[in-house]
């Protein structure tokens, strides 16, 4: 895309994007740490993760200020407008993802008194969700709508993983009522991971809107794919 | 943006130097301008003082109080009406009118009346103490004696305005020349203004921009720069030799001057039309006005001050013109004011030209007086132009 006549505008947009990506980086790391703290029952790591969520919140505020400034001063249109609108939503999603990661770390702290016997496939799910987030951020940084599409498709597998884990935890609870607290904590962690993946999906959908101008949030995958491929011609 | 190597100093020495130099240059130009203006003003003042100084005496006529013998013999020989020694003192022009006067008033015969009568121009000039008055010393003594007795006075010279040219200077006036000027100018105005304005409107508002109109434009601009005497030749060829207009007539002069004024009026009108913003035309066209409506309702009223000024200045120039009239025979001895535009006539500048060539001292002051009158009229015309411009501009 050619440069804006007003160079400052380009700089501001680049800066904003950088800011969002660094926020994404923090979120990605927070997810990893949160899951790790659970698996390792690492109190210190959990506390650190909760503490670091503040940085994510601060970045959200900073991004909001920048978008507001750009709206007022540049009155963006078309692609720029979609970008700004998208950023507003993406930032909210990222902040929520940060909160959810902090929630997982809090789960870790609670689970220290009720250590779970079994983590079910939390480790796998954690890796998969992290991968989703990582893909989303890559797609965002490159404007790669195909990758974003893959994230959206893969979200279903996370849902499946979550449901499987939930059922497994349910059987633990039935088998041994003493495990109930630990299992509930674990199932909440799994729920948070599933929600994080949902937010990653939202971001990917937003990216497609930013890049292509099609709102695919509430259409099914095939229709979305069609819309996008129709664009390709 | 910010050039940190050069301190942003308003009052460095170098800048002060530049300022001084600039101010010196400014004041130098100021003085050049003032000098030029002063010179121009000095010339103007000199000219006016000179003209007025020369002209004022012409507005006064010396009269002498003498015995007029209303005798039968005076009906045939007017010299008999005054004492022999006073014959050169009393105006011959006045004496000449006696026989007719006596015939009309026979009851006066036999009377001997002491009355004020116009003095001879030489006496007049002598009384006004002008060099070269030409009065013989014998008469000088008589006049001196009369002055002693209080028999000499100066009165306002009404004749200068009411009579035509004359070979006797004390009887010469500008009346016929003024009438000729008015006739001539009226004709010029009636012909040059409508034709000039219409031509300009056509060229400016109606004609297409093609080779033909461009050639016309160039020619009109060149015509304005042609020496005016050539218009006289043109007038002579067209109006007198071809169309048979009487020579020396106001019609011939007026037509000739119209030819000369036409380009000036066309150029002034076009400039006035061009100065009307085209947004006004667009507005009118946009509302569905025709070309003619647009021009007549909107463009012309706005151009009016310019057109009037241009026309008046053109006419004023025509009024001061002599050269072309020389050629069509309007520089002539015309003692009686013309009654119509076909009679022989002369105009003020031509009258001035004629008088300037006369040898008698008395004509000299009349020349100056006529120049003063002409100048007054021209200045009034220019004043009128300024007034009209102001008046029309004030309306909107």
């Amino acid at each position: 895309m050619p440069q804006h006549t007003i160079k400052r505008f380009d700089e501001e947009l680049d800066k904003l994007k950088e800011l969002v990506l660094s926020m994404g980086g923090l979120v990605e790391r927070a997810i990893g740490h949160a899951v790790k703290s659970m698996l390792d029952q690492d109190e210190a790591l959990a506390k650190k993760t909760i503490e670091r969520d503040k940085a994510i919140n601060a970045l959200e505020v900073q991004c909001d200020e920048m978008t507001r400034d750009i709206l007022v001063r540049r009155q963006p249109a078309a692609g720029d407008l979609r970008f700004i609108m998208g950023i507003i939503k993406v930032v909210t999603d990222l902040e929520r993802m940060g909160d959810l990661s902090a929630g997982i770390a809090e789960g870790t702290l609670r689970s220290l008194e009720h250590p779970p016997k079994e983590f079910s496939n939390l480790s796998t799910m954690g890796k998969k969700v992290q991968k989703q987030v990582n893909r989303t951020l890559n797609a965002f940084s490159r404007g790669d709508t195909e990758l974003a599409m893959r994230v959206i498709e893969k979200d279903e597998r996370i849902d499946v993983l979550y449901k499987r884990m939930y059922r497994e935890l349910l059987t633990y609870m039935i088998e041994d009522p003493r495990d109930i607290t630990a299992s509930i904590i674990l199932s909440n962690v799994a729920k948070n991971l599933e929600r994080i993946s949902d937010h990653a999906t939202n971001i990917s959908e937003m990216l497609i809107y930013i890049e292509r101008g099609h709102d695919i949030r509430h259409v099914d995958h095939e229709a979305a794919a069609k819309l996008l491929s129709g664009e390709e011609i | 943006m910010n050039n940190s190597t050069q301190p942003n100093n308003f009052i460095s020495d170098e800048k002060k130097l530049r300022q001084k130099r600039r101010e010196r240059a400014d004041s130098r130009f100021h003085w050049y301008g003032l000098t030029a203006l002063g010179l121009a003003l000095a010339f103007l003042v000199f000219f006016f003082v000179d003209i007025i100084g020369q002209a004022v005496p012409a507005f006064y006529q010396t009269e002498v109080k003498v015995n007029i013998h209303y005798v039968e013999a005076a009906k045939t020989n007017y010299n008999k009406a005054v004492d022999h020694k006073l014959r050169r003192v009393v105006s011959r022009a006045w004496l000449r009118t006696l026989p007719v006067y006596l015939k009309r008033h026979p009851e006066l015969i036999g009377n001997n009346i002491k009355q004020w009568v116009p003095a001879d121009s030489r006496v007049d000039q002598y009384i006004k103490q002008h060099n070269g008055h030409g009065l013989k010393s014998k008469y000088q003594r008589i006049v001196d004696a009369m002055a002693e007795e209080g028999r000499i006075r100066q009165v306002f010279n009404i004749r200068f305005f009411t009579s035509g040219d004359s070979k006797l200077p004390e009887n010469a006036g500008i009346f016929s020349a003024a009438v000729g000027s008015i006739f001539t100018l009226l004709i010029t105005m009636l012909i040059a203004v409508p034709i000039g304005v219409m031509t300009a409107i056509y060229l400016e508002e109606f004609s297409e921009d093609n080779h033909f109109t461009r050639i016309i434009e160039v020619n009109i601009n060149n015509l304005a720069a042609i020496p005016s005497i050539l218009y006289g030749l043109l007038g002579l060829a067209i109006f007198i030799n071809f169309a048979g207009v009487p020579r020396s007539s106001a019609l011939a002069g007026g037509l000739t001057l119209a030819l000369m004024t036409l380009p000036i009026i066309i150029i002034a009108t076009r400039a006035a039309l061009q100065s009307v913003p085209s947004s006004i035309r667009e507005a009118a066209f946009g509302l569905g006005a025709s070309r003619w409506q647009t021009t007549w309702h909107h463009v012309l009223p706005l151009a009016m001050p310019g057109i009037l000024t241009g026309s008046i200045i053109g006419l004023a120039q025509a009024m001061g013109e002599t050269a072309p009239l020389l050629i069509v025979g309007m520089v002539a001895y015309v003692p009686d004011a013309p009654d119509n535009i076909l009679e022989a006539a002369t105009v003020l500048p031509a009258q001035i030209y004629t008088w300037a060539g006369e040898s008698l001292r008395a004509y000299e002051e009349r020349t100056a007086a006529a120049i003063l009158v002409l100048l007054t009229v021209l200045l009034s015309l220019n004043g009128l132009a300024v007034y009209l411009r102001k008046h029309f501009e004030r309306r909107w």
Binding site: D80 | E208, S279, F285, G286, L287, A289, H298
Partner: protein, 253 residues
């Protein structure tokens, strides 16, 4: 509801040797506001001036193609330009009231077209026009003072009143607010919003924001070509053509 009012078919226009419009096809809908945008010199004014044949006055200007107003070709030989201009009014970039009274400004066109006599008929017509241009309140006490003594924004509304006094169907506006301050601009925009109930409005504007604010449809021109034409919302959020996108996001040149 979107019946076509003006239909331009393959319009080409030359100024002497140079082609300023290269085959424009566009349809303007009735009682809607269409904004024409594009970089300077792309032919917006030229197109606009074709619609009431103001280009006829320009020597060496010739056109090809068709412009249909309600289905009739406005360049057909039997068309009277004067009549056409009473159907298609025009408001110019710089407010250009006649240097006459406010009343005369509005009454002029109805008078020359014989729409009203001079008595109370005309008074009524003038009042209606001034009211519809929402300037009546400001000028009702000084109808006989010069129109040129009004403020720029008032002058422009006076010009609009003057244009609608002859009841045109279509109003063309060439950058009507470019010489006005934001308040006056807002008043004109509000007025345009009112006027579109009765008139089809086609306006050229250099302000993208203005086009976005008041137009229903937007057409983007570039170097004498119509690049994109569509609903304003679409054009300003997701234009189809890269050139349009570049232009409205300020990435041009």
């Amino acid at each position: 509801m979107n019946t076509s009012k003006v239909n331009i078919k393959d319009l080409k226009l030359w100024y002497g040797e140079s082609e300023a419009l290269h085959g424009i096809d566009i349809e303007f809908s009735e009682k809607r506001v269409t904004a024409l945008i594009g970089p300077s010199g792309c032919g917006k004014s030229t197109l606009l001036r074709c619609l009431n044949r103001m280009n006829d006055r320009i020597p060496g200007c010739r056109i090809e193609g068709q412009i249909l107003l309600d289905g009739d070709d406005i360049y057909a030989p039997e068309v009277d330009v004067v009549q056409l201009r009473t159907h298609v009014g025009m408001v110019f970039q710089k407010p250009n009231p006649f240097p006459k009274s406010i009343y005369e400004n509005v009454a002029y066109a109805p008078r020359i077209h014989g729409l009203a006599g001079s008595g109370s008929d005309m008074d009524e017509l003038v009042e209606t026009a001034l009211r519809r241009a929402s300037i009546w309140k400001e000028v009702k006490d000084k109808l006989h003072t010069p129109g040129t003594a009004l403020s720029g924004g008032q002058q422009q509304r006076l010009c609009i009143a003057r244009t609608i006094a002859v009841q045109p169907n279509v109003i063309l506006m060439d950058e009507p607010c470019s010489a006005l301050d934001p308040i006056a601009t807002a008043k004109i925009e509000e007025l345009i919003d009112e006027l579109k109930r009765e008139f089809t409005i086609i306006m050229v504007t250099h302000s993208m924001q203005q086009a976005a604010r008041i137009s229903d449809q937007t057409a983007f021109f570039y170097m004498g070509d119509l690049i994109e034409f569509g609903e304003t919302g679409t054009i300003f959020t997701q234009p189809e053509k890269q050139q349009t996108e570049d232009y409205i996001t300020g990435r041009f040149g």
